[in-house]
């Protein structure tokens, strides 16, 4: 079946299998490999993308359900002011080690920060419960968010 939606602002039409996941469409058909597959069961969050601004695990999201919606992936984050600030902060704060979880963290955090400009550390930890990082132990990721929030407040 054919499905139309926007990806990072770009109108996109793609032929898919009915039960195909958004992750598979993004990676295999659209060659947007920034979004990662970590578990295929909605546990690790490495596949997080935004659909109409909401963070979803694309490995368990039907592409067909994205019809007419706006999909944002990590590849689009650099063109988003908040996304770019977050990406830079991640590198500056040491919040990236192997980096495989990072795209999922970036998209999740963009949606969190769009909704709440000043989340507390506890609120952030809860919001990030669906994003597993095996490398960092999370604190430098939280530092990156804090730096992003502070940077935006300063401006």
């Amino acid at each position: 079946m054919e499905v139309s939606f926007t990806v990072n602002g770009k109108p996109t039409q793609v032929e898919i299998d009915p039960a195909e996941t958004l992750l598979s469409t993004l990676r295999d058909r659209l060659r947007l490999t920034g979004t990662k597959e970590g578990c295929s069961e909605g546990e690790c969050g490495a596949c997080t993308v935004l659909v109409d601004g909401r963070p979803v695990d694309s490995c368990i999201y039907a592409t067909g359900a994205a019809a007419g919606r706006a999909v944002e992936t990590v590849e689009g984050m650099a063109r988003d002011e908040l996304g770019r600030a977050l990406q830079e902060a991640f590198v500056a704060a040491g919040g990236v080690q192997c980096g495989f979880c990072t795209p999922g963290f970036v998209t999740t955090l963009v949606s969190v920060l769009r909704e709440n400009e000043h989340p507390s550390e506890d609120e952030l930890r809860t919001a990030l419960a669906g994003n597993i990082c095996r490398c960092t132990g999370y604190s430098q990721i939280l530092d990156a968010v804090a730096a992003t929030v502070a940077g935006r407040a300063a401006r």
Binding site: L32, T33, G34, T35, K36, E37, G38, C39, S40, E41, E43, C44, A46, T73, V74, E75, M77, A78, Q87, E88, F90, V91, A92, A93, G94, V96, Q97, C98, G99, F100, C101, T102, P103, V106, D122, L124, R125, T126, L128, A129, N131, I132, C133, R134, C135, T136, G137, Y138, S139, Q140, I141, L142
Partner: protein, 760 residues
């Protein structure tokens, strides 16, 4: 300009945050097809029927291979005990029996499902004690025919895959006259590395060689293993590395690579890609081994430990991998960091019908230190003395002689580490402020920095930047993208952003022993430093002519070569490179480095394959926990680390290793269960049930680095990465036991156990 110790952004950071980084799982080749494996559904049995004809006829299928299509050889890192495919028998759940290559992944999986397989189940050898019994069924009846990969054979027999025994005089005599004997037994489950990027490989058979693309921590090891399995020379295999999405030891040995290689050949040279599903990956990963550790200490009337007996039984799984080499780590950890008099150490590695175990950060140490440190708390409790004070009384000091004859010249750093922890988390204050169901724990460790060799070539480009050619891998730690990069930048006086380090390619780069044992910053950093020094020498020789000065009067700084004391008299490195190319030849330097093993007494033990711990580091951890008396859940309120690192090269990198390692340790201590059923199959099989620590589960780690530079290390660096994971299980168990007033001696500690202990 100095960049050592500065916060320098990692060179691969931008690509990772933008989604541009190409990991092993992202790599593709033109015309690539897909592979899938038929894996044994049972842990022990005889294959009575294997018919691939239906599968071979299915749509899109290019090849189906089994044992019959692979060379009749065994392979292995330390001992060659493993076949590529199960031939007559299966020995663990998940063991590959056949492989299919097809146009699409779906087609490959459909063909795998169509392979007709019948297995007559046999009893699975699972229990470690039973496996060691003289009449136990043998996991490998032909174990005697196994040949060590290199070097002499080592003590092993039947299901005992390796054994190391140290039995100095005086042990029994001390126990006989002991005032008190304290005995403990500890049980630890496996731990799955659970890197977020599943394993993958792309194999291409071309021009008579196998080319492998993979995210491996140790490309040269993968090359050797593929060569063993496919019975070709190592140089007939080329391994090209890619960005790694975590490894923690599990990606040191080959896994999917030999299958991708074989399938490509069978498919007429088409590139074939294999990717593990998460469940496949979990079930077949070379996890940290489960183990039983028994400790007995003889105490005199004053509470000194006058002798010890230390027994470890570790689960090898069905094949050995690296494990035999690690068996003697028990000898190095049997006392922890405390004096114990003559110590008998018996360490055994046992074959079972379970997935092969292997290296996970802090190999063996996590459960050995748990045992030693839980035992110390037990002794202190029996004696009615303060746990911290008891440790300090018996702590190693400078010049401590170890069980293997090695001398720790700087063990006095341990005392400094205890003091450093106390400065930010005062023990007496924490004790005084204890509330019900809160507890504190403390523990200490010493560890090695893996000494194995590394090589680097530093090439000067004509724009003044350099390329470092190395097979070293950065599995996320930043050892390459920060550590090595900063070291080379520092040496050459150029910004870190002008240093580019290549991805590994075994055709191009010299040997490197991989990202393991906390070695990369130190060994590869040093090799790169040596290479950079050769570049500097050559640069000065050429620049001397250009500047009409003597080479010894020149220095490199700020991207130039200049006359010392007359910085205006300078040429850029780029200009030097161009001149060189047209005269003496392009400028590059080579370096390699290996740390010798510290002196030891070879007669101290049998099976002593890892004889001593090079470049020792020292660690003290403290944890404060709170127990929920209603549910038995444990929350880690506070976690403090003091760690000897030699020299902090990259502050973010160092802290990242500490926070990340502690978090893995917290998972090991509390959340991650990996239970093996009586049938040898894992009970936890997905990330839903194999629980990794999440952001709301862990505190911020408070970290105090101690820096006593190693004169041989680049910038003084020692290994950092493994230490942090060694002690969380120990300190958390000590803290929980303290909180509830009952000893808990298993890894992990589950809320069920805690609640049962509270309510008993």
């Amino acid at each position: 300009m100095t960049v050592i110790g500065e916060r320098v952004p990692r060179s691969d950071g931008r690509a990772k945050v933008s989604g541009e980084a190409v990991y092993g799982v992202d790599h593709s080749e033109p015309g690539m097809i897909w592979g899938a494996l038929l894996r044994s559904p049972v842990s022990s049995g005889r294959i009575s029927r294997l018919d691939t004809s239906a599968a071979a006829a299915m749509p899109g299928v290019h090849a189906v291979v089994t044992a019959a299509d692979a060379p009749d050889v065994r392979a292995g890192w330390v001992i060659k005990d493993q076949r590529l495919f199960a031939r007559d028998v299966v020995v663990y759940e998940g063991q590959p029996i056949a492989a299919v290559a097809a146009d699409t992944l779906e087609q490959a999986r459909a063909a795998v499902a169509a392979i007709e397989l019948e297995i007559d189940p046999r009893p699975a050898v699972v229990d470690l004690e039973q496996a060691m019994a003289p009449d136990a069924p043998l996991v490998h009846p032909d174990w005697e025919s196994f040949v060590p990969t290199a070097g002499p054979d080592f003590p092993r027999r039947g299901n005992i895959a390796a054994e190391s025994i140290s039995d100095p005089p005086g042990v029994d005599e001390a126990f006989a006259r002991a005032h008190r004997v304290i005995t403990d037994e500890f049980v630890a489950q496996r731990q799955y590395q659970a890197y977020i990027e599943p394993k993958s490989a792309v194999g291409i058979y071309r021009e008579g060689r196998y080319v492998i693309h993979t995210a491996s921590q140790f490309p040269f090891n993968v090359r050797d293993r593929v060569a063993q399995f496919l019975d070709v020379r190592p140089s007939d295999v080329r391994v090209i590395g890619h960005t790694i999405g975590g490894g923690f030891g599990a990606k040191l040995d080959a896994s999917l690579e030999p299958y991708a290689a074989l399938l490509s050949r069978a498919a007429g040279g088409l590139a074939v890609k294999l990717v593990n599903t998460r469940t496949e990956d979990l079930l077949t990963c070379t996890c940290r081994e489960n183990a039983i550790t028994r400790v007995r200490s003889a105490l005199d009337a004053d509470g000194n430990i006058i002798a010890r007996e230390f027994e470890v039984i570790a689960d090898n799984g069905a094949f050995s991998g690296e494990m035999p080499w690690l068996t003697s780590i028990a000898l190095h950890c049997a006392r922890g960091v405390y004096r114990t008099g003559p110590t008998r150490v018996i360490a055994r590695l046992v074959y079972t019908n379970t997935a092969p175990t292997g290296a996970f950060r802090g190999v063996n140490g996590t459960y050995l230190y748990h045992a030693v440190e839980r035992h110390m708390d037990h002794i202190a409790a029996e004696l009615g003395v303060d746990r911290r004070e008891y440790r300090l009384r018996h702590l190693f000091a400078d010049g401590e002689e170890l069980l293997n004859g090695q001398v720790l010249h700087d063990a006095g750093i341990l005392r400094k580490a205890f003091d450093a922890v106390d400065a930010i988390a005062p023990w007496e204050k924490l004790q005084a402020e204890r509330r019900p169901y809160r507890g504190i724990g403390i523990a200490a460790a010493w560890w090695l920095t893996n000494p194995m060799p590394g090589t680097a070539v530093v090439k000067l480009s004509d724009d003044g930047t350099v390329v470092v050619v190395t097979a070293a891998t950065d599995n996320g730690s930043g050892a390459v993208s920060m550590g090595v990069t900063q070291i080379v930048a520092e040496r050459l006086g150029i910004p870190p952003s002008d240093v580019r380090v290549t991805m590994p390619d075994t055709d191009v780069a010299g040997f490197d022993a991989g990202s393991q044992g906390s070695r990369t910053t130190r060994i590869v950093g040093k090799a790169s430093e040596i290479a950079a020094d050769e570049v500097i020498e050559k640069v000065k020789a050429v620049a001397a002519t250009m500047l009409e000065a003597a080479p010894e009067d020149l220095e490199v700084a700020e991207g130039t070569v200049r006359v010392k004391g007359a910085p205006g008299n300078a040429v850029s490195l780029g200009e030097v490179a161009v001149v060189a190319t047209n005269t003496v030849g392009p400028i590059q330097g080579t370096g390699s480095f290996v740390t010798p093993f510290p002196e030891f007494n070879p007669g101290c033990a049998t099976g002593l394959m890892l004889p001593s711990f090079p470049t020792p580091t020292y660690h003290v951890h403290l944890a404060e926990v709170e127990v929920d008396p209603v549910t038995g859940n444990v929350r880690v309120l506070r976690y403090v680390v003091a760690q000897e690192v030699g020299k902090v090269i990259s502050p973010d990198g160092t802290y990242g290793q500490v926070a990340g390692g502690v978090t893995q340790g917290i998972g090991y201590a509390l959340h991650e269960s990996l239970r093996i059923g009586e049938d040898g199959r894992y009970r936890e099989r997905t990330l839903e049930s194999y629980r990794l620590p999440l952001a709301p589960d862990v505190p911020r780690v408070e970290f105090v680095p101690l820096e006593h530079p190693d004169p041989d290390g680049p910038g003084g660096a020692k290994g950092v990465g493994e230490g942090p994971v060694l002690l969380p299980a120990a300190v958390i168990a000590n803290a929980v036991s303290d909180a509830i007033g009952k000893p808990l001696n298993s890894i992990p500690i589950t809320p069920e156990e805690v609640l049962a202990a509270i309510q008993s």
